[in-house]
């Protein structure tokens, strides 16, 4: 709780800093705040205490996710101090909004009441609507933010409908009540199934599962890169945490399982296949994020037909997967920004050309992170995928897993195509300016990915 308050207050504080335009202080202050929050989380680790009349509960699971999100946000802020260096006004708002959105994320990882689920999603989303439109003059940015807003509210409506139906069944928003009710009725009636289904729809939208993924590529492309990072990392972590909490409490009845399978298959297929032909880096990363959602859904799927307690393994897998994925994504997007500047604004995959010639170390970092996304051994991405496969096979989803394996191969293809660019030496050498801070952040991400790949036990 204290952490929530801290971050919220921090947001307000940052706004005030902006008021007295202390631009240079923004990043340090926010990061300090985040560190404080982390400290609070860690101090409260393993102490399950309920808040807000039991509507929020911090467990090991949620705290793990929270710390992960905080770390990623901190990394983003480190990058931000350089990213916003050129921008004069309204920088503070960006930080503040991200902090607010982060609070939403915290709530999503730890809600026990569907009311909080709704609130969390909104707190997470609304700032993002604004952030996506951060570049006021850029039509693309406007369009991105508008599409995000429209589709977002549309899905929110479904979510609410679902929550309402479930409320109608149980007479309470509390998840335990729902669990109890489902345990009593067994497979459950139509209203229950519809209710579950609508809620899942709302969550599937947040994590960008097909067919609710349409916003992902457009918004990723249109939004400012920094916001894209935030969306593809923190939002994904929060989204899957929320998704898992909900799925796990329901125990996933067959009706729901059928839908989840379809979502998984569709997401795996569409995400990977479309990504094959993407030449625009941000869109590529968008589709790859959809693809990764597919793998994560596969992990969620294994909750079906399992007694409670098996959930922990899934939760841990999700946490490991999303966190390592976020690390790699953050680093790559930062490199992307660097390359974009070097190629005066181009955003295609080939802007990475000459990176190896100019900055070998960064190229190797890029290699590590790409291979991690592709799931090549000794990187965290590999361990993550392997865990998912283990779960899926263990739960007996052999055929779905085989499809996943095949899709992983496609994934390797489109990442390798970019890796190939990284190591191409163009005719006239390209000059990459890298601020030391970015260099550090990228290195941290790359090394982190490798270290977590060798010692998966660390997370």
């Amino acid at each position: 709780m204290s952490a929530l308050i801290l971050i919220s207050v921090l947001g307000v504080l940052v706004l005030y800093l902006g008021l007295f335009d202390k631009k240079s202080w923004l990043a340090p202050v926010s990061i300090l705040g985040l560190l404080g929050a982390m400290a609070l989380f860690i101090s409260g680790y393993h102490i399950d205490h309920e808040l807000l009349g039991g509507m929020v509960e911090f467990s090991a699971f949620s705290i793990g996710f929270n710390i992960g999100m905080a770390i990623i946000t901190a990394l983003i802020f480190f990058f931000g101090s350089d990213y916003y260096a050129r921008q004069e006004h309204h920088v503070a708002e960006q930080y503040a909004l991200m902090l607010f959105s982060l609070v939403g994320g915290f709530i999503l990882t730890s809600y026990t009441s569907m009311l909080m689920l709704f609130i969390g999603i909104e707190i997470l989303s609304i700032p993002l609507y604004i952030l996506a439109g951060g570049k006021k003059q850029s039509l693309r940015s406007n369009e991105a933010s508008f599409k995000y807003f429209l589709l977002g509210s549309f899905s929110t409506a479904f979510l609410l409908m679902g929550i309402t139906l479930l409320y109608g069944l149980t007479g309470s928003f509390h998840l335990e009540a729902l669990a109890a009710h489902m345990a009593s009725t067994g497979t459950g009636d139509m209203v229950q199934n519809f209710g579950l289904f609508f809620v899942v729809t709302g969550l599937a939208f947040k994590v960008g599962a097909v067919p609710f993924h349409f916003w992902v590529p457009d918004v990723y492309q249109g939004a400012p890169t920094l916001v894209t990072i935030f969306m593809s990392t923190v939002v994904k972590m929060a989204g899957f945490a929320a998704f898992f909490r909900f799925i796990d409490i329901t125990g996933m009845p067959d009706a729901l399982a059928r839908i989840m399978v379809l979502l998984t298959l569709a997401t795996l297929l569409v995400g990977n296949v479309i990504a094959l032909k993407q030449t625009h880096f941000k869109r590529l990363m968008a589709y790859s994020s959809v693809a990764h959602s597919g793998f994560l859904l596969l992990a969620l799927l294994t909750d079906h037909g399992h007694a409670a307690g098996h959930g922990d393994a899934i939760g841990h897998t999700l946490h490991y997967y999303t966190f390592t994925y976020s690390l790699a994504t953050t680093g790559l997007f930062i490199l992307f920004t660097i390359a974009k500047r070097a190629n005066n604004g181009a955003e295609h995959n080939n802007i990475f050309q000459g990176l190896f010639a100019a900055k070998p170390w960064l190229a190797l970092c890029a290699l590590a992170m790409f291979l991690s996304l592709a799931g090549i051994p000794l990187t965290a991405g590999f361990i993550a995928k392997y865990q998912v496969f283990l779960l899926a096979i263990g739960a007996g989803w052999l055929k779905v897993t085989l499809l996943g394996v095949l899709m992983a191969l496609l994934g390797i293809y489109y990442y390798i195509m970019v890796v190939r660019e990284v190591f191409v030496t163009p005719e006239e050498p390209v000059r990459f300016e890298v601020s030391p801070l970015n260099w550090v952040v990228v290195s941290v991400c790359a090394v982190g990915v490798l270290v977590l790949g060798v010692w998966p036990g660390l997370v």
Binding site: I393, M417, R420
Partner: protein, 481 residues
């Protein structure tokens, strides 16, 4: 500990080359490192007592049966010897036939060697897989940077094709690991202990075999091989054909025979059919190739097909023959591709049309080539003969007509090898300005030829190494429920 050193030596040396970039000393460093590894391998061989050795056994992620276990049995030791002996030559190739930045090339080669040592030392399926895949990454860059025409497309195709197999293998490993009693373990020992039901083995066999069939490659999965071998830089082709192809055969022994023996027996006739057909198919194709390198690529495919077929004959002679042939084939491929490199370096292309009548101007080279050719067509008292003789015995004991199909290869081999030799060396002098083999090339080829002949006359040195393990393997078959 020395097992860990075996992996670390090339790894560190490679890292040094990669980051220090010593242009001049690069090859020297690489050579020294490979020679060190060789010395270490020979020492292991010298101290080999005939019992399997487990050097390091360390928990990694117990939950998923990931353990860091290094060790070797007779067969593993043979593979270590193969890798240890061949890599100095692969590095040495760079002296006379340099490609690109020496420090980078050699770094890649050393990383590959480290990964290969890992593959042959790993006693845990998961560890095996990790090294199995890692060995691809440096090769990928080797081909990407210093390949021939269409290198970008072909490399990616090769990479994906092999990874397809790899992922299928990963799937199988995950599956079998979960079959072990909790706490799960992916150690080969544990996996070999579980007797999966026949229904499972029947399909699991293919998900595992795919990986190795592509690696070797075996007939329907071979389409990446000729173009990759042709395009790759000489050293890359050497690594692929001489050592990496053998990973497939080794994998068959440690995975299929240990984990899904009934499945392997169930499918053995199919596999033998495919392999032999592929062998004959490639042998026929090799005859009319217009590119020396591609022709050798097909010949290699033909040899590997024969080996794979013999492996599945389930008898002493087939398996020991294959194991022996692995070494012989490795040496042979190094020789052949070195010769290709040397000739094309002089004539400027690997195409036969640019060669012919070279013997007049390079008689000493022609002699060396003739020795290698003799090995390639498995004349007695060369290494290959011993292997093929055992292989044919194995095939005969499996089935007479299969043996006949296999033995036809000695004719096909003679046809394409001698034709190739003629098209390169013989015929009227075409006034191509070429120099004869210099001392450096002799220094490279003569030792290899010496190995060929010595092991052709005294094959028991190696055969004794594998005899025991092969017997154990066969006993485990016979003791199947």
């Amino acid at each position: 500990m020395e097992l860990l050193a075996l992996i670390l030596i090339p790894l560190l040396a490679g890292a040094v080359l990669l980051f220090a970039r010593p242009e001049k000393a690069a090859r020297g460093i690489a050579l020294v490192s490979t020679l060190l590894s060789l010395a270490l391998v020979l020492w292991l061989w010298y101290t080999w007592t005939g019992t399997a050795v487990t050097g390091i056994s360390h928990d990694w992620v117990p939950a998923w049966g990931m353990r860091f276990v290094l060790g070797y049995g007779g067969i593993g030791l043979l593979m270590l010897i193969l890798t240890g002996v061949l890599f100095p030559f692969i590095i040495g190739t760079g002296y006379k036939q340099p490609v690109g930045d020496p420090s980078l090339v050699n770094a890649m080669l050393l990383f590959t060697q480290a990964a290969l040592f890992g593959v042959f030392l790993a006693q845990n399926a998961f560890l095996f897989y990790i090294f199995f895949e890692l060995s691809l990454v440096p090769i990928f860059f080797l081909l990407m940077f210093w390949g021939g025409e269409h290198k970008r497309a072909i490399t990616v195709r090769f990479f994906l094709y092999t990874l397809l197999g790899g992922l299928a293998l990963l799937f199988s490993i995950a599956y079998v690991t979960l079959q072990t009693p909790a706490p799960h373990s992916a150690d080969f020992a544990a996996l070999a202990a579980l007797h999966l039901p026949m229904s499972t083995q029947v399909w699991l066999f293919w998900t595992m075999f795919l990986a190795f069939a592509i690696k070797m490659p075996i007939f329907p999965f071979h389409s990446w091989q000729p173009e990759t071998y042709t395009m790759a830089p000489t050293q890359g082709t050497m690594v692929l054909s001489a050592v990496m192809g053998k990973m497939g055969l080794y994998g068959i022994i440690v995975f299929l025979f240990a984990i899904v023996p009934e499945g392997a027996q169930h499918w053995s006739s199919v596999v033998i059919g495919l392999s032999l057909f592929g062998a004959l198919y490639a042998g026929v194709i090799a005859f009319r190739q217009n590119d020396l390198k591609r022709m050798i690529a097909y010949s290699s495919m033909s040899h590997l097909g024969l080996m794979c077929a013999a492996l599945f004959t389930w008898n002493t002679y087939g398996i020991s023959g294959t194991l022996y042939q692995m070494l012989a084939h490795g040496v042979l491929m190094i020789c052949l591709f070195y010769i290709v490199g040397a000739v094309s370096q002089r004539t400027g292309s690997t195409d036969f049309s640019s060669m012919g009548g070279l013997k007049t101007r390079m008689p000493r080279f022609a002699l060396l080539f003739m020795f290698v050719t003799a090995n390639a067509i498995a004349l007695p008292l060369t290494q290959s003969f011993v292997g093929e003789w055992l292989i044919y015995n194995g095939l005969w004991q499996w089935d007479n007509w299969t043996a006949f199909a296999g033995v036809v290869l000695i004719v096909l081999g003679a046809i394409y090898m001698l034709y190739a030799y003629q098209r390169v060396m013989l015929g009227p002098d075409r006034e191509i300005a070429v120099t004869d083999a210099d001392d450096e090339e002799h220094f490279f080829l003569v030792p290899l030829i010496a190995i060929t002949l010595v092991l052709g006359v005294f094959p028991n040195v190696i055969l004794h190494l594998v005899d025991g393990p092969v017997q154990q393997l066969l006993n485990s078959f016979t003791s199947l429920p």
